[in-house]
């Protein structure tokens, strides 16, 4: 496991937009099968960090490597799930899931089996021939997740993927995400506002400070996997969540 290069290696990353400094000297690593979450107040640059790692936004200084290779543009080893599903409305769900293969120039037929596998895994069986607008928000996000996993990416980037869902559905989706992820070999970098989501899902939680974003603290989450609803009752869970909360609030008032 340690022989594979880290999924993400970020060193002294800084980013400056016209509006001012957004990220300041951010350094962190995500191991090749780790699940890491970034939490922080709004505007602290966590989404920006995600996009820089994806190669969608340039950096002002510092280095970013994904799976051992430097990031100079949109990278193929990473897949992304956005807050809104971003499914192409004119395509059926199964055609949407095959979209990354088409974008790459590969014949979609090669991936049909994988797509069926993912559809079954994500609980979308029977809905693959529907159009996105016929599905609920949660189902659309499942489809977006399947699409992201189609090409077995080394890295899965998620930008508040369940932020638009109601709390109950969100909790359900967190467990679904864990279930689906555990059958893959991808690393995950997730950005969220929800402390409980972060602690539930991650191996490590990175807490960022308000703008300009810096890494304020990192909390290791050593809860046993797979995590279930009873994890919420665990004293250790409460302790870790409390620690994350304390870090967040310290910076807020600071």
């Amino acid at each position: 496991m340690t022989s594979a290069p880290p999924a993400i290696h970020v060193a002294h990353l800084s980013k400056r937009f016209e509006t001012g400094p957004t990220l300041d000297d951010v350094s962190f690593e995500v191991g090749s099968r780790e699940f890491v979450t970034i939490v922080g107040p709004s505007g602290c640059g966590k989404s920006t960090t995600l996009r820089i790692v994806a190669g969608l936004v340039g950096r002002s200084s510092g280095t970013v490597h994904v799976a051992g290779r430097e990031v100079t543009g949109p990278i193929s080893q990473a897949a992304m799930v956005f807050q809104s599903p971003v499914l192409l409305p004119w395509r059926r769900v199964d055609e949407n899931i095959l979209f990354p293969a088409e974008m790459r120039g590969d014949p979609p037929d090669r991936y049909r089996d994988r797509a069926s596998e993912l559809i079954a895994l994500a609980g979308l069986g029977g809905f693959e021939r529907r159009y996105p607008h016929e599905l609920s928000g949660g189902m659309q996000q499942r489809a977006a997740l399947c699409r992201a996993l189609l090409l077995d990416p080394a890295l899965l980037l998620m930008d508040e993927p369940f932020g638009a869902l109601d709390v109950l559905t969100r909790e359900h989706m967190d467990f679904e995400l864990q279930r689906v992820w555990s059958s893959t070999t991808s690393a995950v970098l997730l950005v969220t506002h929800s402390i409980s989501e972060a602690v539930l899902l991650s191996d490590r939680v990175i807490v960022m400070s308000p703008r300009p974003g810096r890494i304020h603290a990192v909390v290791d989450v050593d809860l046993p996997r797979p995590r279930t609803r009873s994890t919420f009752e665990d004293a250790r869970f409460a302790e870790l969540a409390g620690r994350v909360r304390a870090h967040l609030e310290a910076r807020w008032s600071g």
Binding site: F82, V86, P89, E102
Partner: protein, 250 residues
């Protein structure tokens, strides 16, 4: 009811036929000249469709230039808008002088009338896409070419069909105006010669013919939309009503 009032009014006030004919006279004229109208209408429709087709090609082409070439983007919209502001009626005689009394000026006028709405809609459809879609495509390794064919073009289709609904009647007006200015074919010519003969019922009958043509064309576009573009934003709610919701369907 309006028709009844119209009929009664013209008859009881003994309005001369050439000023405002009663609906019955119009209908009579319509029946009498049906074949004649159809012939001329077909000619006008032909020049309109050709002009519209050219406008579609040119409009989409210019929109592509505006979306992909930054240098052109700032210039093209004001230029086209300014050009569009010139009343075509004013320059139509010029076209006749340049191109004669044949079909060319009519096609040109139809083209010019239809160009602007198609360009604006195509530019919006091709360019105004949520950045997330483009980010997603790029992250998956898509080249700009692939992104065009598989994302931008499909996204633009509802915009284009909407533009056609606007552009068709405009193009039709262009053709008809061309026929007013010169020539001896088409529904515009028929209207003009009916006016010279003070055959007002025929004028009205021709107007009905034009209306029917426009309705048919618009209806066709709407049918195309309902058949192939069921996914466009205005239609999405209807599908959502049938979707499952809640935990089990989340």
């Amino acid at each position: 009811m309006v028709l009844a009032l119209w009929e009664a009014g013209t008859r009881s006030f003994d309005v001369p036929l050439y000023i405002l004919p009663p609906p019955s006279a119009v209908l009579l004229a319509l029946r009498r000249t049906w074949t004649l109208q159809a012939q001329h209408l077909a000619i006008t429709a032909a020049t309109t469709f050709v002009g519209l087709a050219l406008a579609l090609v040119a409009g989409v082409g210019l929109a592509l230039a505006a979306v992909y070439v930054r240098a052109i983007r700032a210039v093209i919209l004001p230029a086209l808008a300014a050009f569009n502001g010139i009343p075509k009626v004013a320059i139509a005689p010029l076209f006749v002088i340049w191109f004669g009394l044949g079909d060319e000026p009519k096609v040109l006028l139809a083209f010019l009338m239809g160009l602007f709405p198609i360009f604006v809609s195509a530019a919006a459809g091709l360019g105004e896409i949520e950045p997330d879609y483009l980010d997603l495509a790029r992250l998956s390794g898509g080249s700009e070419r692939r992104i065009f064919w598989k994302v931008r073009l499909m996204h633009a289709l509802p915009y284009l069909t909407d533009a056609l609904k606007v552009a068709f009647p405009l193009a039709l007006v262009g053709s008809v105006v061309g026929e007013f200015i010169g020539g001896n074919r088409g529904i515009g010519y028929l209207i003009l010669s009916a006016q010279f003969n003070l055959d007002t019922p025929l004028v009205f009958a021709c107007l009905i013919g034009i209306t029917l043509l426009t309705s048919a064309a618009t209806g066709f576009v709407v049918w195309l939309e309902n058949r192939w573009l069921v996914w466009r934003p205005s239609r999405r709610r209807e599908g959502a009503a049938a979707a499952p919701s809640g935990l089990s369907g989340a």
